[in-house]
Symmetry: C2
Subunit: 427 residues, 2 copies
């Protein structure tokens, strides 16, 4: 048995021991981690500098982007947020051992549906070291064991954060060993993806190519989204001021986010009224415009089919003319990624139609796509965003790390008595 299999097996054992964890003990564990991160602040920032030195040369050689470099860098503010984030998770309601549903299915036979942890979760993320503390906190609160694989650029920072977490958990009496684990290389990940015997869920957080690679290489269920191709459809009954504000916010507020808009669809009956204003607003905000030829507006790059499939992740926006709301819906269901799509319309019927037929995790009326976020939805924490059609969809909170079991209480009951109609189930 190799190293990664050993880690996964130990994590599985830990996950069974974790079933007995009280909310109180889990919160003590979280506060201990937060406390020790605070105590080791200077050390963490020192070690992060080592990673940054290496990353600088990668940046110079063009092997990583400025965005990756920025996400890698920790400072006092980020550390403060990381520590506060752990305390915030401690304050959330414990998602496990909740009775979700209960029924006396026959006289003297009680069925209870009870929430419980999933087991062992593998989380693969890229450069951001703050993911370690965030996912650790969410896993502990939901009584799941976790195997973390961080970005290679953050290896020293990750190791240090992980050591602090391990030391903290050992300080907590009765907390199972091996609940939190760190692995390091791509080969480690490759091995992990084969361990469906021990690992119950994989959560990739990172680029499209990472997510696609993982989905293609494991039998373990994967929770995530591979693309964030979000749309705003400006209906013929749109309020033009609202449309402009929402489009600019959805594109410019944080263009690299998966919930930023990539394509705007304009109904032909409103095109004359909005296009000049929209182009001006986008130009003012330094957004590159890629334009459907049907607009007959010169001076911009022409859109081709490829643009409808592209997540620019940058200040670039494609704009398409549509003849009807149905064409808009069809376009979104064909080219979208099922993430978040919005209609701008004052017409209630059109809005409801759009929200019914667009097959996406989030369907919005008159509001920026940037609201697609667990914190903004009021979940208090976010595991990630899912475009899955099973288990969890959209922004996923703590609940997404749980499943349930059925507990059935009897007193010697046998099925034969019900087959022979001696006894009857309750309605």
């Amino acid at each position: 048995m190799n190293n990664i299999e050993n880690i996964a097996k130990s994590a599985k054992e830990a996950s069974i021991n974790a079933l007995k964890l009280s909310t109180e003990l889990k919160n003590i564990a979280l506060y201990t981690i937060a406390h020790n991160l605070q105590l080791n602040k200077d050390k963490i920032l020192e070690v992060n500098k080592l990673d940054l030195i290496n990353a600088s040369s990668l940046l110079e050689k063009g092997e990583i982007t400025q965005a990756v470099f920025n996400r890698l860098k920790l400072d006092d503010n980020k550390l403060r947020d990381m520590i506060q984030g752990i305390k915030d998770v401690a304050a959330l309601i414990d998602p496990v051992n909740k009775i979700l549903w209960s029924k006396e299915i026959a006289d003297g036979i009680t069925l209870k549906k009870v929430s419980c942890p999933i087991g062992v979760i593998g989380v693969i993320f890229e450069a951001r070291p703050d993911v370690i503390t965030q996912i650790t906190a969410l896993s502990i609160k939901s009584s799941n064991a976790v195997i973390l694989k961080g970005g290679i650029e953050a290896v020293e920072t990750n190791k240090t954060l992980f050591d602090i977490i391990k030391t903290s958990l050992r300080e907590v009496n009765g907390f199972p060993d091996n609940m939190v684990n760190l692995i390091y290389t791509r080969d480690d990940v490759k091995e992990m993806l084969n361990l469906d015997e021990y690992i119950n869920l994989i959560i990739p957080r990172g680029s499209n190519s990472l997510v696609k690679y993982i989905k293609s290489n494991t039998k373990i269920p994967v929770l995530g989204h591979s693309d964030g191709i979000c749309h705003i459809y400006t209906d013929e009954y749109a309020d033009i001021e609202k449309a402009l504000n929402i489009i600019i916010d959805s594109k410019c507020q944080y263009p690299a986010a998966c919930n930023s808009v990539e394509t705007v669809l304009i109904h032909k009956n409103i095109s004359d009224k909005i296009m000049n204003k929209l182009i001006n607003a986008l130009n003012e905000n330094n957004v590159k415009i890629i334009l459907d030829k049907s607009f007959n507006i010169d001076g911009y790059q022409s859109a081709d089919e490829n643009d409808w499939k592209t997540e620019y992740g940058d200040k670039i926006l494609s704009i398409k003319l549509v003849n009807s709301i149905d064409e808009a819906i069809d376009h979104i269901n064909k080219y979208g990624s099922g993430h978040t799509d919005c209609i701008i319309s004052e017409n209630k019927e059109n809005a409801e139609k759009f929200m019914m037929f667009v097959d996406s995790a989030g369907v919005y009326q008159n509001i920026s796509t940037r609201f697609a976020d667990g914190f903004r939805y009021g979940f208090g924490a976010e595991v990630g965003i899912s475009t899955n059609k099973t288990h969890a969809r959209g922004p996923v909170g703590l609940e997404g790390l749980t499943i349930y079991k059925y507990k059935l209480y009897g007193s010697g009951d046998i099925v034969e008595d019900f087959i022979s109609e001696k006894r009857k189930f309750n309605k």
Copy 2:
């Protein structure tokens, strides 16, 4: 684009059109199918005879078992149950378009979590033709499109049932085409498993080898169980009469079922009191006993490790001696399949310990494992039983064919106003 891809693509389109289906129209569709099955009763039984003639020769050659032959055979009673089953599904509460949760996340911004269909579901089953009408009914009621692959032995019966379903759905004004589809060969299945672009969930219903094959050959989420290795642990505080009744019911009431017991664990402190009685009861019921050597009882086949991993699916039972409840829990978590496991004990603490630490879909106290069934749980219908740790676990009702989307209603709201703290989210 080949035939199966065309079918999947059309099913996907149908699934989008199905989003508009009212409960009333879906129930009309179900009653129309039930009605037409009734009208075509004689024809169905005639065609079934053709399959039975072919199956007889397969049975003679030993290529299929008597059990498969029996499941293939339709008669008046089975047809009546099939038709009643469809009407029962019509009577269930519509699982889609339910508001599961709603919140005003900020002044004027309302978030609704709304249940919706999963999309396109592929169901692969073996000889039983009654699965066609059952799964069709469940899919229609939950507004999902479905692609069915039945057992080759039932091909003529399946075709006829499918034709009646198709004709029925065409009689219903406004019902989308291609909601229900039938494919025929193993090659068809192989192609279907690659179509993750169109198909959202695969449900295999059949042998272990079928389920394992499917899990190893698709990126599409799979809902099912590969084994049903259920345990009964007879605690030192067991009531012996209850133990005997429950073990006999769990083994003998329907030995081929996935929820029948395969291994009984006996606490050493109760072994002397129960073993003679248990062996007598099993002998009376013609159950073959495979016995742990530690009992020091002669005359029975000795159990080896392989027995702890075997789903006999027959009147065979392995019995193991354990030194403690912890050993019982460890054994079940190591060798079990996470399906259904029971403790026989009058001691509440031990029962709760067992039910907490045994990591199975169903954990029972003093009741037969044969109760693990959607109908017995009161769900009114059963999609199948799942040992998954995500999406749905245990007996799965209509709800298991649904997911949810988030609808967000605003009036021009932008994230920038919240980042700049001009506005605040509600607590």
